[in-house]
């Protein structure tokens, strides 16, 4: 078997947690604290992130000495999938909790862990990703941002783009060239923690086609970054960046982006469901079961200390295709949905206009299929 996704179950304590999260979501909605909407990369609410931090739902798998809660990846999965399924405002903490924190835990210095992780776990400190550049998208090894060593630190010069919420978040982890790349171009890259509020860091909004400015251009011009803000070893950036990928690509955010569309369609059809609507909802249910089975397997493998990057790429490609399919299916249903609620129409419009980004962010469809092909021995 080329790719194997063993069957795991969420343990009883994780299922107990699911009930807690659902009750919390119901309370928050009843109190009118937020509306369902957006996704992990757009629905931002720093106060919400603080509230779930206070519940112990951020930094869940990290050691207690860094403010974590020493729970399992499967418990973390339950919390993240329930918040996504509720279309809750998770965007503020999402990157910090999902990948910046684990990166610092693995490669960061003791001082960095002590300084950043407890605040991330409390939902007070948010990170952005500083990878893409105007001329470096899928071909990440071609980044041109340079960091030059000087006494006491580094001077970084370059432009980062598509830096989601750089205007609101506190720090970005910036990938920069510090030396020669060698033939593979994977050498000579390093990661730095850059303070987005520093006066010599310019953050400019990039307005997307939906008219929103969630992502930004971040301009660094001989920006000074102290030695203690280098993450891991200089020159080890490529390995560090790729170690984030299994966290980045396998999670439920890769197949739940349009769950609100599905659930709001169900709500519209509940009184008089036509056979076509029943079929559409059933197809979504079936595909979700398959995707979630695979996603749980990757969470369990991460818990067991494995690095299932290949499996994660595979899930993301399938999951994104599924998210796209939902839009086509529900749009085609038209009047089969008797009373199309405002909630449904909003979800349909939001999903339709956001959908091009789904198969780009976190690895394009083409890059992912290339990774899968390499796993098949074709490259």
């Amino acid at each position: 078997m080329r790719f194997h996704f063993p069957i795991f179950q969420c343990p009883p304590q994780a299922e107990a947690l699911r009930a807690e999260v659902r009750a919390f979501v119901a309370e928050e909605l009843a109190a009118g604290l937020w509306q369902r909407g957006g996704d992990f990369a757009s629905h931002y609410d720093a106060a919400f992130s603080q509230r779930i931090g206070a519940r112990g739902w951020l930094g869940m798998t990290w050691p207690r000495r860094y403010g974590g809660h020493e729970r399992s990846m499967l418990e973390r999965l339950v919390v993240t999938e329930e918040l996504l399924a509720a279309s809750a405002p998770v965007a503020a903490h999402w990157i910090a909790d999902r990948q910046s924190g684990p990166l610092l835990l693995r490669y960061g210095s003791e001082a960095q862990r002590g300084e950043f992780l407890p605040r991330v776990a409390r939902g007070e400190l948010f990170f952005s990703i500083g990878m893409s550049e105007p001329d470096s998208g899928s071909d990440l090894a071609s980044v041109r941002t340079r960091a030059v060593k000087i006494a006491g630190g580094w001077l970084i010069t370059g432009r980062k783009v598509w830096t989601t919420f750089a205007h609101l978040n506190h720090f970005a982890i910036v990938l920069a060239r510090t030396g020669e790349g060698g033939e593979s171009r994977h050498g000579g890259l390093s990661q730095f923690i850059v303070d987005l509020k520093a006066p010599d860091v310019k953050v400019r909004p990039i307005v997307n086609m939906a008219g929103q400015s969630e992502f930004n251009e971040v301009i660094l011009d001989t920006t000074f970054v102290a030695d203690d803000r280098l993450v891991g070893e200089p020159g080890n950036g490529w390995q560090q960046v790729t170690s984030e990928l299994a966290f980045e690509r396998s999670g439920p955010e890769r197949y739940l982006s349009s769950i609100r569309l599905v659930e709001s369609a169900l709500a519209c059809a509940r009184e008089r469901p036509t056979p076509r609507v029943r079929e559409a909802l059933g197809r979504m249910t079936a595909k979700l079961i398959a995707l979630r089975t695979m996603s749980i397997a990757v969470a369990a493998q991460l818990q067991n200390g494995e690095t299932p990057n290949l499996e994660a790429a595979l899930i993301k490609d399938l999951g994104n295709a599924f998210e796209r399919e939902q839009i086509a299916v529900f749009r085609a249903l038209g009047a089969e949905l008797p009373r199309r609620s405002d909630e449904y129409l909003l979800a349909l419009a939001e999903a339709t206009i956001s959908s091009p980004s789904w198969t780009l962010r976190g690895g394009t469809r083409e890059v992912l299929r290339g990774i899968v092909a390499r796993g098949l021995g074709l490259r």
Binding site: E263, L281, G282, A286, L288, I289, A290, L376
Partner: protein, 281 residues
């Protein structure tokens, strides 16, 4: 703290069955073995005793390993039918090398047999798709056009990646149904929803895999002399039968949709169907 998978694959059974069915298939295709001989050999190996009783659970992983090994080998003895129904004559009655859309085949009356046969079909289909994919991966390495192996073309790489993704998704959902049978029994509360879900996912997955594997093979894949057709015909036949057993892909989807409407949420239906009961309930 590590977590253990709930479905243990018995490596010894898997290896023994893979070798045995590989041998049987080879002897069959070299005209060294007849159909009765194949049935006798399978009985002698003890493979016919592997069917779990309706309330038996522990035997399912072994039965699944046997069914998968046969499904991968293209040996023309229908182990899903044999293990689910005990129908010895039926298990060797399928004319090899032929395909016709199944007519209104009778679904077994017993719910346990119906579920066991549905699960067996899913496992067989996954295994045969894997075999077709393996052949395709080998073929594109060997075959050269425009001065290079087909495997070097990005269009070919991406097509096969897509097929492999579908095979992975189909295997995952079939394995989940298998884990349910091994934990809750074949008449467990979640079994029929999981089998409906598997039938929907596998039904679509076959379309992609059948298309891609033949496309990358070119005309040779469409011949009797090359092995791909054996796996393709198995996949098509077994999918037809799976759909007949469950009333068709649309009805499977409708039933799942009804469960979601009843629960008021697709997501809640997904999490509840996937939360398998304890093996000692």
């Amino acid at each position: 703290m590590t977590v253990a998978p709930i479905l243990a694959v018995d490596a010894l059974v898997h290896e023994a069955a893979t070798r045995a069915f590989g041998d049987l298939a080879q002897r069959w295709f070299s005209h060294d073995l007849g159909r009765e001989g194949m049935l006798a050999a399978v009985e002698q190996l003890g493979f016919t005793d592997a069917l779990p009783s309706p309330d038996g659970r522990d035997a399912w992983p072994t039965a699944a390993a046997i069914i998968r090994a046969q499904g991968r080998s293209a040996a023309p003895i229908d182990m899903a039918l044999l293990l689910a129904t005990g129908d010895r004559a039926g298990s060797i009655s399928q004319p090899p090398g032929a395909y016709a859309c199944a007519a209104n085949a009778d679904a077994p009356d017993s719910p346990a047999t119906l579920a066991a046969l549905s699960l067996g079909r899913c496992l067989q289909i996954d295994a045969a798709m894997e075999a077709a994919l393996e052949l395709s991966l080998q073929y594109v390495q060997d075959r050269k056009q425009f001065g290079q192996a087909l495997a070097k073309f990005q269009a070919i790489q991406h097509s096969l990646a897509l097929a492999a993704e579908e095979v992975a998704a189909c295997s995952a959902i079939s394995d989940l149904a298998l884990a349910c049978a091994a934990r809750e029994g074949i008449l467990g509360a979640r079994m029929s929803a999981l089998l409906d879900a598997a039938a929907v996912v596998v039904g679509r997955g076959v379309d992609v895999v059948y298309d891609v594997c033949h496309q990358v093979h070119g005309a040779i894949g469409f011949t009797q002399e090359y092995a791909l057709h054996r796996h393709s015909l198995d996949v098509l036949r077994w999918r037809d039968h799976l759909q007949l057993l469950r009333g068709g892909e649309l009805r499977c989807a409708e039933r799942l949709g009804d469960a979601a409407l009843e629960a008021g949420s697709v997501w809640r239906t997904v999490t509840s169907v996937m939360k398998l009961g304890d093996s000692h309930d």
